[in-house]
Amino acid sequence: MKGKRSEDVNQPQSNPLRRKLARANPTAPHPDDDVLTAFAENALVERERGRVMEHLSTCAECREILSLATAAMPDVVVQQRLHTLPVRPPLRTWLPWLAAAAGVVAVSSAVVIHQKELEARRQSGGGPVMMAKVTPPPPPQLQQLQPTSVPAPQASIQQQATAPAAKSQPKEAAAASVMQSQSNQVETPTQQEAFKKAPSSEAKSLRSMESQYGNLPLNTSGLEQQNGLSRAQAPPAPPPLPPPTTAMAQVQDAAAGAPADTVELASGATQVSPQSAADSGSSASAARMKAAPAFHGAAAAPAPAGGAASGSIAGFSAAVARAHWRISDTGQAQRSLGNGAWQPVLPDEKSQMRVVSVFGSDVWIGGDNLHLYRSQDDGITWHLVQLPKKAAGARAVTHIHFQGEQAGTVEADNGTRWTTVDGGQTWK
């Protein structure tokens, strides 16, 4: 970051920009200590603040005093003041609201579909009201592999529903008979269609809503075991699901084309497996979901590519609030969700972290031993990025500068630089 600017403008002692900046004349009398203090504490009204800023832009002495005074603030005060203003650009403040609105729309549309279904059944004579469990039917050629004694697949829909009256649809009816024989539950074709067509964005919205309400069913134990790393603040993992039998696994693998969403609409709780997003396409959100641990341990961290090996650190928290970042005095990367509590995001990292760079939900953290971590989801999951070896003597990552999600530069303490144009997959 600084290295780039040094290269561009910060030429040794003869830069025209610096010369012109230094020649600026103070336009007004120096503000007194009271006004400077109020400026440092953000206690001036906008007009007065503008006047002081105008003076500061031309007066090196006042800038010096302001800098010393703010540097003398206790860390606690600094953090409190940093929290008074948004860290991110104001444009992105609508994102959480958009996510919440999308979640509300998704839930309400599901409710409307459900009510219409009930109404349609009432009009057609109506059946007994019972618990319904809907499972997407496997492809016809695999139906014979489905053992009747195996528990229901994870991709299922549970909700209050009436029994279906549409016996004229043989495919759904066949699947319904299988399920009915297992658990005395009946599928509803309309619901099944609705959830088949549910786009991954809705699934993500449901997931974010669930995160908000602290009912996140993601299982991190798979990746924790894989990497030998875990986060202290990670919530306890849900009890492991029974492993699928071979036949079941075959069915699931072969039925990759079928929707694998796990959506439960019971007593207001909504669950969406990240696998659905991972399967749904190659979008960034899908990749993000892939990075997060999934049910059955099916989804893993992105594979290393282009000579840049990547490891993963599992761990998450229900991060819906805007995240704030800092490197503590002890060199620990910490995150706060705006409630004033700072939690380490890399508790198992022994090296001291030195720099954190945030670009949207992309967070990069670098530190000693050239350790470089990346999170694409505001710090929910982390990946250790290995920088290719260059000149000897590089000990710590000191600067990280990204112009976007993909292109950026990392600089070490001895000036060695690595550049990526593909989000850290490869480095030059």
Binding site: S14, E41, E61, W325
Partner: protein, 299 residues
């Protein structure tokens, strides 16, 4: 001691709404604990309003009264008046923070202690010929917190101290530092960078104050992103993004000006990107020097 408004002036300048606003704040100031009467409180606040918003409308004056740190202000005035209870409270609240702030500024325990002790002496005050004690706390006006004001005063004191000490460097030290071998600088207005210098100056003049502040802090004062961020109450990464944008804008505008001045696109590129520092005849010391005399501090 600052001239504060006399009761006559107060009656003349402070309207009823302003006086009511001041009276409302007396309750929360805790002035009665230190013997500050409502009249004295009114006098102090009217002086503050006169100083900072004397020409402003009454509404703005009332707003200013609402933003004042009245608890700290009454404590400071009570200390200046020599109230023992106030001094006890002051030392209890600010002794440790003051030494801690001095240490953060000086980064040396001995210097920090000297700085803090010197400030304590100024705060306690000395008696003048008329027997009236002059106390630095009289200068505190309650715009920011008293602790913040003490930090600012300490910082100013440290800068003054550094400047006065820097003149005491011996000739040997100067020779060691190479000061004795400085060549006579040549004029910086000649050479290939004259046009780009003019373009930069014009572009800077059009920029906003905050943008120029950021540029000066980063390129001239060599502050860190975190340091600038602390001053503006934003994160260092926000400063980084802003600097990127400002630099981009600056480049664009300078390029436009160069082209408007008759340079071809290629010549602009050469001038902006391949500017060889060896071609620049710059008197660095003169450039970095403040060209206008610094006016007396407004205190």
């Amino acid at each position: 001691m600052l001239p504060e408004a006399s009761p006559d002036v107060e009656v003349r300048t402070a309207g009823e709404p302003l006086r009511a606003a001041i009276a409302r704040r007396y309750g929360e100031s805790g002035g009665e604990r230190y013997g500050i009467t409502p009249e004295r409180f009114q006098q102090v606040l009217v002086a503050v309003v006169e100083r900072y918003a004397g020409e402003a409308s009454e509404g703005e004056q009332i707003d200013l009264v609402g933003t004042l740190q009245v608890v700290d202000l009454t404590l400071a005035r009570a200390c200046a008046d020599g109230n023992e209870a106030a001094w006890g409270a002051f030392l209890k609240r600010f002794r440790e923070p003051l030494y801690a702030a001095a240490y953060r500024i000086a980064r040396d325990e001995a210097t920090a202690r000297e700085l803090a002790d010197e400030l304590y002496a100024d705060l306690y005050g000395i008696s003048n010929r008329e027997g009236h004690r002059q106390c630095k706390l009289d200068h505190y006006m309650g715009r920011g917190s008293l602790e913040g004001w003490l930090r600012t005063v300490l910082s100013r004191q440290y800068v003054d101290r550094y400047r006065s000490r820097s003149r005491e460097v011996s000739l040997d030290q100067q020779l060691e530092d190479g000061v004795g071998f400085v060549a006579r600088p040549v004029s910086d207005e000649k050479g290939p960078d004259a046009s780009i210098g003019t373009a930069i100056a014009q572009t800077l003049a059009e920029m906003g104050a905050e943008e120029r502040f950021l540029l000066a802090s980063w390129y001239l004062d060599q502050r860190t992103l975190a340091d600038i961020g602390r001053q503006l109450h934003v994160h260092g990464s926000t400063i980084s993004r802003r600097l990127d944008r400002i630099l981009e804008t600056l480049r664009k505008h300078v390029r436009k000006r160069l082209q408007a001045g008759g340079l071809s696109s290629r010549a602009c590129d050469e001038l902006m990107l391949e500017l060889d520092v060896r071609d620049l005849n710059v008197n660095v010391a003169a450039s970095l020097k403040q060209e206008t005399p610094i006016e007396a501090f407004n205190k």
